[in-house]
């Protein structure tokens, strides 16, 4: 499998489709996240992807993404730097720089946020994730199943509110903090590389896989994303015949 080292616009398009498939019917639409990543690229930022093996042994990796109802996310789009603010709050709390981001879930809308934040923070995103698809709860990540505890962690909203959780009773409790589906943005905790490697290896390298799946799907685009493509064909017939 050719490994993905940098994400440009063509890779984004492929990952969008792949993440949609890996969302397996849930996890929200990666479309808005794709647009946001694209805007970052057009502003001149880079999305670098790093294979897990290339990280230092003591590298500090955080998983991040949004919690809440995806239906809210298509209407109330984020301000844009929520996760970056949460990531910086966590660095402050730990007194240490974060080396890379990783997806908790590669499926659905949360496939994009780690790439976006990595680009904003100037760090790479790890070619891997915590579940290989989209799942309903954070505690279903491989690393959580292997006993990883998500504290400290941080949460930020569009208005400038930031919360750092020094200790949470369990992963379930952490996730129940945003008690209503407000779609706040959660910065999940540090994951030391070793644990990351032990526990997420079977899901690796998911970002590459997502892109491959996306590329494959685009080749068979008649199967995917059908209405948009169909209707575009219908309505664009005058300008471009597909």
């Amino acid at each position: 499998m050719d490994s993905l080292r940098q994400v440009g616009e063509p890779e984004l398009e492929a990952i969008e489709v792949g993440a949609g498939i890996l969302g397996t019917g849930g996890g929200g639409n990666p479309y808005i996240g794709k647009l946001r990543c694209r805007e970052e690229l057009r502003r001149g930022r880079r999305i670098d992807v790093i294979p897990l093996q290339e990280l230092d042994d003591d590298a500090l990796v955080v998983s991040l993404g949004g919690i809440g109802a995806p239906v809210v996310g298509v209407e109330k789009i984020e301000q844009g730097e929520e996760c970056l603010r949460a990531l910086q709050a966590l660095e402050q709390e730990l007194g240490q720089k974060i080396d890379a981001t990783i997806s908790s879930e590669i499926g659905g809308a949360n496939s994009m946020e780690p790439m976006l934040t990595a680009a904003q923070a100037g760090i790479p995103v790890v070619d891997g994730d915590g579940m290989g698809r989209a799942f309903p709860e954070m505690q279903m990540c491989t690393w959580s199943i292997y006993g990883h505890k998500s504290s400290p962690s941080a949460m930020a909203d569009e208005k400038g509110n930031i919360v750092v959780f020094r200790n949470t009773a369990s992963e379930v409790w952490l996730e129940s903090w945003p008690a209503r589906p407000l779609s706040p943005w959660v910065q999940l905790p540090e994951s030391r590389l070793r644990r990351c490697e032990e526990n997420s290896s079977r899901n690796l390298p998911c970002r590459t896989r997502s892109r491959r799946l996306g590329r494959w799907a685009r080749r068979f685009s008649t199967l995917m994303n059908s209405t948009a493509i169909r209707s575009r064909r219908y309505l664009n017939m005058k300008t471009a015949v597909c």
Binding site: K76, N225, S231, Y234, L235, N236, K238, T239, V241
Partner: protein
């Protein structure tokens, strides 16, 4: 009284006269640059040939792809100011961020983001800042823009902020026209905002076009009411179209599918509309076009209207055939030039129609030049055409039953008695199905308001909304026993006391008489 249905297409303007449920006559004439003279020509022709006096026509229904074409061709769109109430949220993706560059340039790409917007539960993200809006109004004025689209986060749940912003902007810009996103679309800020901006940019064209339609009717001596068909196959009055031209975007395929269903009497079928350049395939379920379940792109711009699910392929009666190996059919077409370029008319370009004529499916022009390709070659090309149609039909087919394929449009000579295992039905007047679809446009009644569920159940509230909408439809001229629910949606409003819910419900019925 008789009714006239008109379809103003990119190539032809078709007109039909209907007597109740009976098609009296249909004619085709070329669409003209000014639209009006093409309609006048069609109207005069259809009145003359049917020998029906202008005073016997009770209503004229027009279906048009004029506004869709304007967007697709990026023509005649007004410069538009997009104002979004959202900050600090949604700052990362400004209005028109996902538009193709050429159409963004055509409408000017001017946008402003301001404080405002609601949370999902109706709380404010931030309050409206009137001074900020006045400043924006001044900037819009300085740019000389008088067409404004306003969007606000969660405005389908609470549209007050958009209305308030309109009032503030209108104080400084009294001559501007406004489109509010809450009046147009559903949840999904980018898609709804896109539709609002496109609507705003089309309003000038819409006003001109509606006026042109009126003049055309007058010139033909008609003084009856004129309606325009919208996406769901129902009719809109002229004033409404002036304000909401985007609501006509999908009327073309809707009219063609409903017309095909009407002409054949089939309620469940796959409709194949083969034109000169392309083939549109859609499904009819219980007489209505099956709706797309995801977002729909119009000219590269994403929207979330309810629209029929249509799959298009580049195959038409004018598609150019490359007869030598490897055989290719389309995507290029000679289009309306088939009358000079096609082999059967003495031209030099082999087309799909030449193949059909060469194989004896139809008798048009001179079959001899096509036959020179040899029957084996013609058969091989025909197989490719068949495969294209079968694939498209199978993709849109949602029933395991052997439902019929309804073939309409000028290019439908390309299909014969079967598509795969499905039988083909070709109505007698297959070429004017769109105009028939417009003529049978239905009258609707709509209710969109907030109901309290404190003392009634949801079912009771829906029932009373249905009754109210039905009464509206009947008073607008619908036949009472033909009324059915077309669309129904309820959104619980968590922020209002008394267990409130917003119910949107639309019923339709046939025009009485």
């Amino acid at each position: 009284m008789y009714r006239i249905g008109i379809d103003v297409g990119g190539t032809n303007t078709d007109a039909v006269v209907m007597d109740g449920n009976k098609l009296v006559l249909g004619v085709k004439s070329p669409t003209t640059e000014d639209v009006t003279s093409g309609i006048v020509a069609s109207l005069s022709q259809v009145l003359k040939e049917s020998e029906i006096g202008a005073d016997q026509i009770g209503a004229v229904m027009i279906g048009t792809t004029h506004f869709t074409n304007a967007v697709v061709e990026r023509r005649r769109l007004s410069k538009t100011a997009a104002v979004r109430l959202c900050l600090p949220a949604a700052e990362c993706l400004p209005p028109m961020v996902d538009w193709p560059d050429d159409i963004r340039d055509t409408v000017g790409g001017h946008y402003w983001m301001a404080k405002g917007g609601n949370e999902f539960d109706g709380r404010e993200i931030s309050s409206i800042d009137e001074d900020e809006l006045r400043g924006i109004a001044d900037e819009i004025g300085k740019k000389g823009i008088d067409t404004i689209a306003i969007s606000s986060i969660f405005s389908p749940v609470n549209g007050e902020m958009e209305q308030k912003a309109r009032a503030v902007l209108a104080e400084r810009l009294p001559d501007a026209n406004f489109t509010l996103s809450s009046e147009i679309g559903r949840l999904g800020i980018l898609e709804r905002e896109n539709a609002a901006i496109m609507n705003a940019s089309l309003r000038r064209l819409s006003a001109e076009t509606v006026e042109a339609f009126g003049k055309a009717l007058q010139s033909a001596g008609l003084n009856c009411p004129c309606f325009i068909t919208q996406n769901d196959g129902t009719l809109m009055g002229s004033e409404f179209v002036k304000a909401y031209p985007v609501l006509t975007f999908a009327s073309g395929p809707t009219n063609s599918m409903r017309g095909a269903s009407f002409l054949t009497g089939e309620q469940d079928a796959v409709v194949v509309d083969i034109g000169g350049t392309s083939t549109d395939v859609g499904s009819i379920i219980k007489g209505f076009p099956r709706q797309a379940s995801t977002s729909v792109d119009i000219g590269g711009v994403r929207t979330n209207f309810r629209m029929p699910d249509v799959f298009s392929i580049a195959l038409g009666g004018g598609s150019i055939v490359e007869p030598d190996d490897p055989i290719r059919v389309g995507p290029k077409s000679v289009g309306y030039k088939i009358h000079t370029e096609g082999l059967l008319f003495g031209g030099r370009t082999p087309t799909t129609t030449d193949v059909a004529v060469g194989l004896g499916f139809a008798e048009i022009g001179d079959a001899e030049p096509a036959r020179k390709l040899g029957s084996e070659r013609l058969g091989a090309i025909c197989e490719i055409i068949d495969e294209m149609v079968v694939n498209a039909v199978e993709r849109m087919r949602v029933s395991p039953e052997k439902i019929p394929v309804l073939a309409v449009g000028g290019g439908s000579i390309l299909v014969r008695d079967k598509v795969g295992e499905l039988p083909v039905v070709k109505p007698e007047n297959f070429a004017v199905a769109n105009a028939v679809g417009a003529a049978i446009g239905q009258i609707s009644g709509e209710v969109d308001r907030i109901f309290s569920l404190e003392k009634t159940s949801r079912d009771e509230a829906l029932e009373s909304a249905r009754k109210e909408a039905t009464e509206k439809a009947i008073s607008a001229g619908a036949k009472p026993d033909s009324i059915e629910i077309l669309d129904q949606e309820d959104v619980p409003l968590a922020y209002l006391p008394g267990n409130a819910t917003r119910i949107r419900l639309k019923v339709v019925g046939d025009l009485d008489g």
